[in-house]
């Protein structure tokens, strides 16, 4: 089926009816393999497609979507979209972006995906599991290991003249193993992803990343409630980044639902805090030539040595803020209207090694696992469950579990007093190991 022609033809129907519209069409093939204890557990393969349509009629908007591309289904989608748009409320911020020139087209499609045999992928998952299980004698059982990949195509086009498309691939490996000591069972988990098969983290490192966490944390008990330093490792620091990225949502800022509202140009973090959002990083996991509305993506420094430089906007958010889209329209599949989100989003690494951060910590918690949502982008409140190890005078003295770490996001950003050099961009939001001078630790 010629999807480009379908999109063009459908947009023309809306125009004829006096409406504007945007189509986001997605097709893809995906594969998921999971193994457990050396045996294949699940093998899931599929191809799917779908399109989501935003319809604008006199500043009123509707959204319709379907997986059925037959003529009858598309005609009824057009009709339904128009009738629903007429029912919605008038909103001056209901706008579509105008076309802009796309200057960067990052490499995000690996043609090798078609040539890698299934058996090789199953073996990869089995080998990661085998190595993680043999990492340490305390590791007694698997939690499962999975390999998945997908390749797909996106077309995004609107009646104002945007017409973009791109192909992308993604490879992902996830592993969990359990360490046991007495009555205590502790999982250690790691996941890693890449746009190119050859960029996947090597098998041994994936295995060690999971095994090391399980062994370090097993047998953890709560410490006394107190204030102390908290070191976040590469994985758990993502929690803070996630809170920051949600607070950067320009529309939420305008609605006064962000702790970062009104803080442009203000120093909100320590000098060590520089945070970048990069949509054009070559081979980046979250790189794309255009965002979910067809606006070119870009590389932006969002927080520079502690100073907040800007927010994330899609077309609607930009209209509300009387600004310009920053290419930050996010799509969560074809079945959802665009929202606002980050691309490759990271805390710029510092110069210390993670070991140097630990040896330089007098007393505190080194966090390997956080549990819970606990991050409120509206108020900036931060409170999550944590497990890890306790540090006294620069040395790890034992495992800790079932404590809560709490603070305010602004205090945390200002309290960052050490940043390590161990950033790995194997996910869309990533950070190196870093330390926060002081947080409230809730224990016994």
């Amino acid at each position: 089926m010629d999807y480009e022609a379908l999109v063009k033809d459908t947009l023309r129907k809306f125009k004829q009816a006096g409406a504007d519209a945007e189509i986001f069409l997605q097709t893809g093939d995906s594969l998921e393999i999971s193994v457990r204890d050396g045996n294949l557990e699940n093998l899931k393969q599929s191809g799917s497609k779908g399109m989501g349509v935003r319809v604008f009629y006199k500043k009123k908007m509707s959204f319709v979507d379907s997986t059925d591309f037959s003529k009858g289904a598309v005609d009824s989608l057009v009709e339904k979209g128009l009738s629903l748009a007429k029912m919605a409320g008038k909103d001056e911020y209901n706008v579509l972006p105008e076309p802009r020139e796309v200057t960067h087209r990052p490499e995000i499609y690996d043609p090798e995906i078609k040539r890698i045999p299934l058996d090789k992928k199953i073996e990869l998952a089995k080998e990661v599991e085998r190595r993680a299980l043999s990492y340490h004698p305390l590791i007694t059982k698997p939690e499962g290991c999975s390999y998945s990949d997908n390749s797909g195509k996106v077309i995004v086009a609107n009646t104002l003249g945007i017409s973009e498309s791109y192909k992308a691939t993604y490879f992902h490996v996830e592993i969990g193993v359990i360490a046991e000591k007495g009555e205590s069972q502790q999982p250690g988990e790691y996941e890693t992803g890449s746009r190119f098969f050859s960029d996947l983290m090597d098998i041994q490192t994936i295995a060690e990343n999971a095994g090391r966490r399980a062994v370090a944390m097993v047998g953890g008990e709560p410490v006394k409630s107190q204030k102390a330093a908290v070191v976040f490792d590469r994985l758990t620091g993502e929690r803070l980044l996630d809170g920051v990225s949600r607070a950067l949502n320009g529309e939420q800022v305008a609605l006064e639902r962000s702790f970062l509202r009104g803080k442009i140009g203000e120093k909100i973090g320590s000098d060590l805090v520089t945070i970048v959002d990069d949509g054009i990083m070559n081979r980046g996991n979250a790189s794309r030539p255009v965002d979910g509305e067809g606006v070119p993506t870009q590389r932006r420094v969002i927080i520079e040595r502690g100073v907040l430089k800007g927010y994330f906007y899609n077309a609607r958010g930009a209209a509300r803020a009387k600004g310009k889209s920053t290419g930050s329209a996010a799509r969560w599949g074809y079945g959802q209207p665009p929202g606002i989100g980050h691309h490759n989003f990271y805390l710029v690494p510092g110069e210390l090694s993670s070991d140097e951060i630990i040896t330089g910590t007098k007393k505190g918690l080194y966090v390997f696992q956080t549990i819970g949502f606990g991050v409120d982008a509206e108020s900036g409140g931060f409170s999550v469950g944590a497990s890890g190890v306790w540090i006294v005078d620069g040395k790890v003295v034992g495992p800790v579990a079932r404590v809560a770490i709490a603070s305010h996001m602004l205090e945390m950003l200002k309290g960052i007093d050490a940043v390590a050099n161990d950033l790995i961009m194997d996910r869309s939001a990533a950070c190196p190991t870093f330390r926060i001078k002081e947080m409230t630790i809730g224990g016994i």
Binding site: Q45, M87, R257
Partner: protein, 509 residues
């Protein structure tokens, strides 16, 4: 790790069900689809228009079993979804979507092969069945199916498709007006309306051929209060597996007022305390604590993998003798209910813990076979794009005898957790966290000041053992549970007290 997303004056039926005749826009969908969706309410027909025939399904099962395999099933789904959002006093987005497709599964020993297609041509479906069959390597088999009728406790009296969208808009406008009218400090309200009708057909190699229809409504109201630079957003949700008659028992004003009250009260909230203390958890959605802390550990697949804390503990005392934990997918109208699960097994009441003793696990067809147990109606899936996992439905702790007021009176210093975001559990270690949205201090036997930002942290088995007072007021709350796939559930419990649990607030003294 599993998690919850975080994301009621009686009205007569006539008041809000004015069909298309009222000048509102009626549903516009492709007529065959509408016919297919509405067919269910008109009684069982031999074959539904646009769906697969008996012969076609048998053919697909035959292809699925062409390389052997112990079991195969075909799952057809067609879902109509509608979403309406109101924010800042106006209808923001009106959405409509159709999902349809077929998922085909083949099981060989403990290995599952799965493939799905949104293209319903037999050519594409046979290819899908062939891909699913790739996990098996033995002699071909075939299957014949015969049709059976599901139970009928979940149904729409007034089908969601038969109500004009303009009538649904009125429900949002009423909620918006009620929230804003509650107090001048309520600066904004937003309302999310979601409804869907999901029709499924299941056929399997054991001869099962069964269909079901599931209506569901999810209604969420947010109320934002602000005063002197302080702000809070309150939230309240209602959900049920019913047609539009749902709102007869749950008028939209009700969640609006609950959300508005929370927003106003919490304006004056202080920082939550930190450390170990007794916590009184409000009836209803508070049951999410036990959904997370205990329920997931009783799902047969996690027990089979030996990663659950509750592996090998059947017959053991795992809670005080007052505790009875139940999962029951057959309660009419609740969000987690259905007539059959997504493998065709009738839903039922499953007593998981009786008088503190672990009685049983929840099972899908696969885990039931692995355990030599009976399926319990817990094989659920998010959509045709997913193979079934063992999932909870409506999970609750049965009520006790204590007046909740006595729990406060018995508590010198503690926390009263009234409304929650949700929780997360690590089923292997049993560690969980639970985020509280609305909470109060209990001081000298009285509920006193509101506090914000509390997180409860603990171990599931310990939390279950630490329940020392059980209220006489069972309630339920709706949510959506994530385990790689999202499914609608409810959690329930009476008001109860945990004698001791870690509270992680930002205040330390």
């Amino acid at each position: 790790m599993f998690s919850f997303d975080f994301l009621k004056d009686i009205v007569t039926r006539r008041e809000f069900i004015r069909r298309g005749a009222s000048g509102g826009v009626t549903l516009v969908v492709a007529p065959p689809i509408l016919k297919a969706i509405l067919a269910a309410s008109q009684g069982a027909k031999e074959e539904i228009p646009g769906w697969l025939s008996k012969k076609e399904m048998e053919k697909l099962l035959k292809v699925a079993l062409s390389r052997g395999g112990d079991f195969a099933d075909v799952f057809l789904e067609r879902k109509l979804r509608r979403d309406i959002n109101m924010d800042e006093g106006r209808i923001n987005t009106v959405r409509f979507g159709i999902d349809q497709g077929v998922g085909i599964r083949v099981i060989k020993k403990d290995t599952t092969g799965y493939a799905f297609s949104d293209d319903l041509s037999m050519k594409k479906l046979k290819e899908t069945a062939r891909v699913a069959s790739e996990v098996a390597h033995s002699a071909a088999r075939s299957a014949s199916i015969s049709r059976s009728k599901p139970p009928h406790h979940v149904f729409a009296r007034i089908p969601l498709e038969s109500v004009a969208e303009s009538e649904k808009l009125d429900l949002l406008k009423r909620a918006d007006a009620a929230a804003r009218g509650y107090d001048s400090r309520i600066r904004n309200a937003s309302v999310d309306y979601h409804d869907e009708t999901r029709r499924i057909v299941i056929a399997n190699s054991k001869g099962v051929w069964i269909e079901d229809e599931r209506p569901i409504i999810y209604f969420t109201v947010w109320a934002q209060a602000s005063q002197n630079g302080k702000r809070h957003r309150g939230r309240s949700r209602r959900s049920g597996t019913k047609g539009i008659e749902f709102f007869e028992g749950h008028p939209p004003e009700e969640p609006a007022l609950t959300a508005a009250k929370e927003a106003i009260v919490m304006l004056d909230a202080e920082e939550a305390p930190s450390g170990e203390m007794p916590v009184v958890v409000e009836a209803g959605w508070g049951g999410v604590l036990f959904h997370e802390a205990v329920g997931h550990g009783l799902e047969g697949d996690l027990v089979q993998a030996k990663t659950s804390f509750y592996y090998g503990k059947l017959g053991e005392q795992v809670a005080s003798e007052h505790i009875n934990l139940v999962d029951e997918g057959s309660i009419p109208g609740l969000r987690g209910s259905a007539n059959i699960d997504d493998e065709g097994t009738a839903t039922q009441q499953n007593i998981l813990i009786e008088k503190g003793v672990l009685k049983g696990y929840m099972h899908s067809l696969l885990t039931a076979r692995q355990f030599g147990a009976k399926p319990t109606g817990n094989g659920r899936r998010e959509s045709y794009k997913h193979f079934p996992l063992v999932r909870m439905t409506n999970t609750y702790i049965m009520e006790g005898k204590t007046d909740p007021q006595d729990m406060f009176r018995a508590t010198k210093k503690g926390l009263y957790a009234k409304a929650f975001w949700g929780g997360v559990v690590d089923t292997a270690s049993g560690n969980f966290t639970f985020s509280v949205r609305e909470a109060y201090l209990i001081e000298d036997g009285k509920v006193t000041r509101p506090v914000r930002g509390a997180t409860l942290v603990g171990s599931g088995p310990e939390a279950l053992r630490s329940i020392d007072m059980l209220g006489n007021n069972l309630g339920f709350g709706p949510g959506t549970c994530g385990k790689g796939q999202w499914v609608p559930v409810t959690s329930g419990q009476p008001t109860l007290r945990l004698s001791k649990i870690t509270v992680g607030g930002t205040k330390s003294d």
